[in-house]
């Protein structure tokens, strides 16, 4: 039943370019990218109980590596994508070793510190990253010779990648490893006594989340054809975390809904008020007060209550 619903949703989403103009199609592409990024973070936050404030590292590093390889070193898009994903995944493995020495707040601080280091490097190592000017003039790949330069084709490309990622992440969290992961989130001590290795389970998840963060980074740099240090900033990490929590951490679709909300607020509200962050804060406050577990679980409960009430 859930699979049918997901398939129907995908088909409906695929029809969007026939119904809406380029502006909205581009907005939808951005939402897909933000959703994929939030979904990867949700593996850590929602399923692993590892609240990271440095997830932008994976988006940013994959984007930067890809940008540098294609623009400066004239790599093709295929090899550039493979190398940047491999590099990002390896970096996640290393960062995991450092960050998973701690849990809870300590973990959060280490992930934040590591991402701040990268952010600082992106700004200061201007010989490599072009500093505050960012790297411009990038191109989009041409998978199987199909140009992604118009809004619709890029949207479909993002939709395919994001749907595939969503499917694989869903399989991951529904697997018996996923059960081990949730067990470690809820009762790490008991899980260790039962024969599970909590550290290894967390580390594997950390690497997997880093990999998908990297995939979202590739889409991000393809979309913008430009990369700037802000992609590595704490704001970038925090927005994703906000999306995960607002949408419902530890649910399959919640983070995508939350990410869409954050992105729409950012795009629309910023056109009217300069201090759109304040509005975002108010919306977030409202969600936390009314639906503390997030929009998706909150609406689910509401739907159950309405159904019960109408009977």
């Amino acid at each position: 039943m859930k699979w049918i619903a997901a398939a129907v949703l995908t088909v409906v989403l695929a029809l969007l370019p026939f119904l809406a103009g380029d502006f909205y199609v581009n907005l939808a592409s951005q939402i897909l990218i933000a959703a994929l990024f939030a979904l990867s973070l949700n593996l850590l936050v929602g399923y692993g109980g590892m609240t990271s404030l440095g997830h932008a590292s994976y988006l940013g590093v994959a984007a930067y590596v890809c940008a540098l390889l294609t623009s400066r070193y004239e790599f093709g898009h295929g090899p550039a994508a493979v190398i940047s994903l491999a590099g990002t995944t390896a970096m996640a493995a290393f960062f995991g070793l450092l960050a998973l020495r701690a849990t809870g707040l300590g973990f959060l601080m280490i992930t934040l510190a590591l991402s701040q280091v990268l952010w600082g490097l992106a700004y200061r190592m201007s010989g490599v990253t072009n500093g505050d000017n960012g790297i411009a003039g990038l191109t989009r790949p041409r998978p199987f010779g199909v140009s992604l330069d118009n809004a619709a084709s890029f949207y479909w490309f993002s939709l395919i990648v994001t749907s595939f990622a969503f499917l694989l992440m869903t399989i991951f969290v529904s697997s018996s490893f996923g059960s081990s992961l949730r067990g470690v989130r809820d009762q790490p001590r008991r899980m260790a006594a039962l024969g599970f290795n909590p550290w290894m389970i967390r580390w594997i998840t950390f690497i997997y989340a880093g990999f998908w963060g990297g995939v979202s980074g590739l889409l991000y740099v393809y979309y913008n054809k430009y990369i700037h240090p802000t992609s590595l900033s704490i704001t970038s990490s925090a927005e994703a975390l906000l999306g995960v929590i607002a949408g419902g951490s530890g649910t399959l679709g919640g983070p995508a809904v939350g990410a869409a909300l954050v992105l729409l607020l950012k795009n629309y509200a910023s056109a009217y008020i300069e201090r759109w962050n304040m509005l975002l804060g108010l919306v977030f406050l409202f969600i936390v007060l009314v639906m503390p577990t997030g929009i998706v679980p909150g609406l689910g409960r509401l739907a159950t209550a309405v159904r019960r009430g109408s009977r």
């Binding site: 399989i171 490893f177 081990s180 006594a193 039962l194 599970f196």
Partner: protein, 251 residues
């Protein structure tokens, strides 16, 4: 891996643990034979749970050794000890509250299987896990609640789930930390007969305050006080010992 032959299921040798200046385990030595039923008693703060935490690997001793069937496990992680046949329950109920009883027991089974690393097949793919979990729940008399979440069931039932999770693993050494704590009289006798029915290939070491019930289950008794072993031996001998009365029975 074949562990070196040993006469003992569990050996604790000159174990020491101190928190700052407070010595909570002081030169403790125990030797427990395979199949033995050992009761560990002692007043509050005697260091019983701390001793358990060191045996199960949650806590590192400052010195001394812990041997499981002759294998020195002192520096082993808790999960490695679990794979060597050690299992434990907790004094404070430590269950997965949002999950069903069946899922809780299944996690106990999964912990000892390689399928715990399986990343594309759901838990439900392994039908034998569910079957075995249900069999264990049946043994503790909770099969009718298998589909209910832990948060739905009563305290006494949670205590039995604690036991079921450990029993499902068919441990060679089972550590029970106050399995009767907070139970009503009826529940007490239920859990008591449950513990009595544990097969003899499992060695049972139990911390318990309820002497009336626990003494029936025990063959040998260790009395701890201020982190030291005060008396250690057969049940009758320990009960009769003057020091036991002094420390514990409140003479």
């Amino acid at each position: 891996m074949s562990p070196p032959a040993s006469d003992y299921a569990l050996e604790v040798v000159n174990l020491n643990k101190a928190f700052g200046g407070l010595s909570v385990t002081h030169d403790v030595s125990l030797a427990i034979r395979p199949g033995e039923r050992r009761l560990i008693i002692g007043p509050n703060g005697a260091g019983k749970t701390t001793l358990f935490n060191q045996i199960s690997g949650d806590m590192r001793p400052n010195s001394g050794a812990i041997k499981l069937f002759g294998t020195d496990v002192t520096r082993f992680k808790p999960y490695t000890r679990a794979h060597l046949g050690m299992s434990r329950t907790y004094q404070i109920i430590t269950l997965f509250t949002g999950d069903t009883l069946e899922h809780n027991v299944t996690l106990g089974l999964l912990g000892l299987r390689t399928s715990r690393w399986q990343m594309w097949r759901p838990l439900s793919y392994y039908g034998d896990l569910a079957t075995q979990a249900r069999r264990t729940l049946d043994a503790v008399g909770l099969l009718h609640l298998a589909e209910r979440p832990i948060s739905d069931i009563a305290y006494g039932e949670k205590r039995r789930v604690e036991l079921a999770m450990a029993l499902a693993q068919r441990p060679r050494v089972l550590l029970l930390d106050e399995p009767l704590a907070g139970l009503s009289n009826t529940e007490r006798s239920q859990v008591k007969s449950l513990i009595a029915s544990i097969p003899r290939d499992t060695t049972v070491i139990m911390i318990e305050h309820d002497m009336d019930t626990a003494l029936d289950l025990a063959e040998t008794v260790t009395l701890l006080n201020y982190g030291r072993v005060i008396v250690d031996g057969d049940r009758e001998a320990v009960i009769a010992d003057e020091r036991t009365r002094e420390v514990y029975l409140g003479a």
